[in-house]
Structure formats: structure tokens, C-alpha cells
């Protein structure tokens, strides 16, 4: 997660209008999931790859590694679709085990392929958004589309304090390590537990201090901040609209 956060600040597409990126990512994701079309998923995967790696200049190696993270989940879940155990063999393949067969039908293989490819395409949409848009910009969009304010404010604070608390945690861990706190399994478990306990107390203290600091600047229960927005370029809007229309047409035509 911290890798993604670092990368999005250096992305070349960072200053592209966040609403355009958001709309593109969400609509494309929806079309991929709805259509389950192999052709469309392949197109979306390629386009997102070009956008993120080519335009956004996210290193390909990192992008590939991130894309492979959900692979295990996707393969596990499609396994159930491909593999059947039955007494009579199906049309795609059949491996006899005693009087039974481990078998699968052509239709189920096709279905699995669709599932895998469209899942990857959907994941690539979300990666496109998170690798090229900063969290604050995403929160800005959420506020604009009238997400509940409390949720947006909570996300803003949580996002900020993830980093403060991980820093605190790693500082505590370093100091524990320097006193041999992690030399074997037993000490590791104990040190980790103590670290977690201290972290919890620190978090409480921090939240009190933060509340004081916010109150001293006139906090009244609503976090008002300026939203930074980068004006959308006409070309970007036109391209996104055309692409989404093409996907919509693809959906309607029920491309394979």
C-alpha cells in the first residue's frame, strides 16, 4: 500500500483531472464486469497498461508485480469452475481416477477464461486509479459526488495517521531490536505484543493532541479544506467518452 502511495505522487498523470480519471476507472470497471467479454477485457488490460506504464511512467516491473498480487485469489476461485468430479467425462478433458473422472466442460473452461481475464481487467482499472491519483484527490472526488461527509473526513484522518502510526511502530520495533527483542520466537511474540499495546496508547494520546490542535484552529466538527483541482482537458474528456461509448457498444453487441 505504501508502495502505491509513493508511486502515485510521482506519476505523470497525477495532475490530470481527478474526476476524469475516476469516471474512466469506474465506468470501465463496470463494463468489464458486466460484459465478461474476452475481447473487451483484453482491450481494457492493454489500454490500462499503456496508460499506467506508458503515460504515467509507473515502472513496468512494479506494475507487473502489483498485477500478480491478486493472481492467487483469482486462480483459486476459478479452480472450482474448471474442475468437476463426476462419473461421466465431460467434453473438454477427463482424467480417470478409479471409476470417477476429474473432468471439465468446454463451456466451463471458456467461462473460467472470461472470469480470469475480466477480473484482471477490473483490477487494472483500480490500479490505474490508485497509481495515478493521490488519496487526497480521490477524497476530493468522493466529497464532490456527495459521499457521506463523515466517511470522507474519517478517510482523510485515517490516511494521514496510517503513516504517523507505522512510523511510530517501526521506531518502537527498531529500539526493541537494538535490545535483542526479536532474537527468538518467544521474545518476538512478547516484543510484538508490547509494541502493539504501546502503539495503542500512543494512538489515543495522539488523537487527544490532534483534537486540541484542530480545536485551536477553530475546528467545529466539520473539516473544511480547500480542494485542489486540475482543470480537465477537452481532449481527455473526448477520449474517455469515446472509449466508454465503444465499451458500451461492445456490451450491447455481446462481444465474445
Amino acid at each position: 500500500m505504501i508502495v502505491i502511495d509513493k508511486l502515485c505522487y510521482s506519476s505523470r498523470l497525477r495532475y490530470t483531472n481527478a474526476e476524469v480519471k475516476f469516471t474512466y476507472a469506474i465506468l470501465t470497471l463496470l463494463f468489464c464486469v458486466i460484459s465478461r467479454s474476452l475481447v473487451m477485457a483484453a482491450i481494457v488490460l492493454t489500454v490500462n497498461g499503456i496508460l499506467t506504464v506508458g503515460k504515467g511512467r509507473i515502472p513496468f516491473v512494479v506494475y507487473r508485480r502489483l498485477m500478480l498480487i491478486p493472481l492467487a485469489f483469482i486462480l483459486l476461485s476459478t479452480g472450482a469452475v474448471i474442475v468437476n468430479v463426476s462419473k461421466s467425462p465431460l467434453d473438454a478433458y477427463a482424467i480417470p481416477i478409479g471409476s470417477w473422472y476429474m473432468t471439465g466442460s468446454r463451456a466451463s473452461l471458456m467461462f473460467a477464461a472470461r472470469l480470469i481475464l475480466s477480473a484482471f481487467a477490473a483490477v487494472s482499472c483500480l490500479y490505474f486509479l490508485s497509481l495515478n491519483t493521490t488519496m487526497t484527490d480521490i477524497l476530493g472526488v468522493l466529497a464532490k459526488i456527495h459521499c457521506p461527509q463523515m466517511m470522507v473526513e474519517l478517510m482523510l484522518l485515517i490516511y494521514r495517521f496510517i503513516f504517523v502510526l507505522t512510523q511510530t511502530a517501526s521506531a518502537i520495533q527498531t529500539s526493541q531490536k537494538s535490545r535483542l527483542g526479536y532474537q527468538d520466537f518467544k521474545t518476538s511474540v512478547r516484543s510484538f505484543g508490547q509494541m502493539a499495546a504501546v502503539l495503542f496508547i500512543r494512538a489515543l494520546k495522539r488523537s487527544n493532541a490532534l483534537y486540541d490542535a484542530m480545536e485551536s484552529r477553530g475546528y467545529d466538527g466539520r473539516i473544511r479544506v480547500l480542494q485542489e483541482s486540475y482543470p480537465p482537458k477537452r481532449k481527455e474528456i473526448v477520449l474517455v467518452v469515446l472509449f466508454e461509448i465503444a465499451l458500451l457498444v461492445g456490451c450491447i453487441l455481446q462481444l465474445p
Binding site: T136, R160, R206, A213, S216, R217, G218, E228
Partner: protein, 286 residues
């Protein structure tokens, strides 16, 4: 308008959690436009007193005055106090709540009800002024300690306060950022902003401040000009402070007969240098 911008009269304050009496009958006055250094051991009540001055803590007894008027703890009154008195907290990580620098700075001014357009101009102005521009597009968690400090000062400055309270601004700063902060503080003070600063550095306090307040066990032990405070060796000892370097050298020079006991004891290196410079001149005029 009254000459005193802030006054405290018999302020007592205890923390609810542990019942510890953090402030015990504090009396003091702060002159408009002055530079006041607050010194005292950790836990002597400096930070608690600062939080009282900003209306975060409400004293159990006693009265605080802003511009001669008692603090008004109504919602509107509090907003006014917080606009006029700003606190830069010691640990920027306890103050910065947003990952975006400009959002962070915009918080205070928007709370004052300033329209977005003007708030944006003000935020951009303060970013430029505090030389935050090179890192304004970085997330706050990627900033260095010194940069975070700059942002936390901008947080307050954007609200155009009359009084700025800095709680140990130089703690954990490298020499470069300490200099940046000190220069900025001098600039602000030249603009007429009253500055209260908690510090443990007596040499800095003596060179910088118009007045020093020594705090001890929730009490004001001594308030006066640096020279007055330095002469009160008992008070210094009680607050675990050593005499400033300049005073120690001055005493040695007096003992050796190089300097005669002057009516104004030099408390900063600059004053000491001036006293030493005078030696030659006196001889020439003789």
C-alpha cells in the same frame, strides 16, 4: 486599546484525568508586540498555560483577558480568541491532519468563514512566504521534520493572528531549519505580532526575548527582562537553568579585572561583545 494584549489573573487549572494541578495561581501580563520566552522544566505548566490562552482549556478559577476584555467562551467568542491567538504545537505530527500541504494550511482560515477564493489566495501567499513552494505538492508524511515545522507555522500564520505561541519550535530541528524558524520569528515580531515561545535554550532566550517568564510547578516564578531574570540566581537554580554563556564569561572577566561591574549586565554574546568593545574606547577617551 490596552497596552497589554494578554493578561492572566489567578489562573488555576487541574487536569480532569489525574486531578493534577497543572497551573496554580498564575499571574502575568504580556505587552502588545513583545517577545516573551517561557522557560521552565518539562511539566512546569508552560504547555497547559498556552492551551488556556487559546481557549482549549478553561481555567478552573481566575480570569484571562485578551485586549483588556475577559475571555468570552461562547462559540463566537472562542472563534475570535483562536483567530487572534495561534499555537504552533511542538510535534508537527500532532498538528498536521491532512496529507496535502495546501489542504492542511487552508483548514484554519476556512474555519474563520473566509470565502474559498480568498482563502486560496491567502494559502498561496503564505506558502510562498514561508518558502514551502518546493515541497507543496508532496504529501505531508513525506516531508522532513523541518519542512513539517514550516507547514505547521503556515497553518497558524494564514489566520493572521495577533499573538503566535510557539511551543519549543527548535526541538528536533537541524541547524538550517532552526535558523529559518528563528529568522521567521524575528520577521513576525517586526510586523508587530506578539510572540510567546517556550524554549530550554537560555542563551537564545536572553538574546532574543524582551521578557523571560520562568515557570515552576505551575507557577510563575519570575517575570522580567533577561537581565533581571539572570540576576535572580535563586530563581534560575530552582528552574534548573544555568546562567547564560555571556553572563558566565562576564563574571570571569570581572573577576580578572578586565571588565568593571557595569550597571547593565550583558546577558547575550552581542551585549558582551559590546561591553568588551567599550574597553578600548574608554581608554582612548582617557
Amino acid at each position: 486599546m490596552s497596552e497589554m494584549i494578554l493578561q492572566a489573573e489567578n489562573i488555576c487549572f487541574s487536569y480532569e484525568e489525574d486531578g493534577r494541578r497543572a497551573l496554580d495561581n498564575v499571574n502575568l501580563s504580556i505587552k502588545r508586540g513583545s517577545k516573551v520566552a517561557f522557560m521552565g522544566a518539562n511539566g512546569s505548566g508552560k504547555s497547559t498555560f498556552f492551551l488556556c490562552l487559546n481557549g482549549i482549556h478553561r481555567p478552573d478559577s481566575g480570569t484571562l483577558y485578551l485586549n483588556g476584555k475577559p475571555f468570552d467562551y461562547s462559540k463566537k467568542g472562542l472563534l475570535d480568541i483562536r483567530r487572534r491567538v495561534g499555537i504552533v504545537f511542538q510535534d508537527p505530527d500532532n498538528q498536521l491532519f491532512s496529507a496535502s500541504v495546501s489542504q492542511e494550511i487552508s483548514f484554519g482560515i476556512l474555519n474563520l468563514g473566509v470565502p474559498e477564493g480568498r482563502a486560496k489566495e491567502e494559502v498561496d501567499g503564505v506558502i510562498e512566504r514561508l518558502t514551502i513552494t518546493p515541497f507543496r505538492d508532496k504529501p505531508t508524511h513525506a516531508l522532513s521534520g523541518g519542512q513539517k515545522k514550516q507547514v505547521s507555522i503556515a497553518d497558524i500564520l494564514v489566520m493572521h493572528p495577533d499573538v503566535i505561541i510557539l511551543d519549543e519550535p527548535a526541538s528536533a530541528l537541524d541547524p538550517k531549519h532552526t535558523r529559518i524558524v528563528n529568522e521567521l520569528v524575528n520577521q513576525l515580531s517586526q510586523e508587530g505580532i506578539t510572540i510567546l515561545m517556550a524554549t530550554h535554550d537560555i542563551d537564545y532566550a536572553c538574546a532574543w526575548a524582551d521578557e523571560i517568564v520562568l515557570m515552576h510547578d505551575g507557577n510563575v516564578l519570575k517575570q522580567g527582562t533577561p537581565a533581571e531574570v539572570c540576576r535572580d540566581t535563586d530563581a534560575l537554580e530552582k528552574t534548573n537553568l544555568e546562567e547564560p554563556m555571556a553572563v558566565r564569561i562576564y563574571r570571569k572577566l570581572c573577576a580578572k579585572g578586565v571588565l568593571g561591574p557595569a550597571e547593565d549586565m550583558p546577558v547575550s554574546m552581542k551585549e558582551l561583545e559590546q561591553s568588551i568593545d567599550k574597553i578600548g574606547k574608554d581608554r582612548k577617551s582617557e
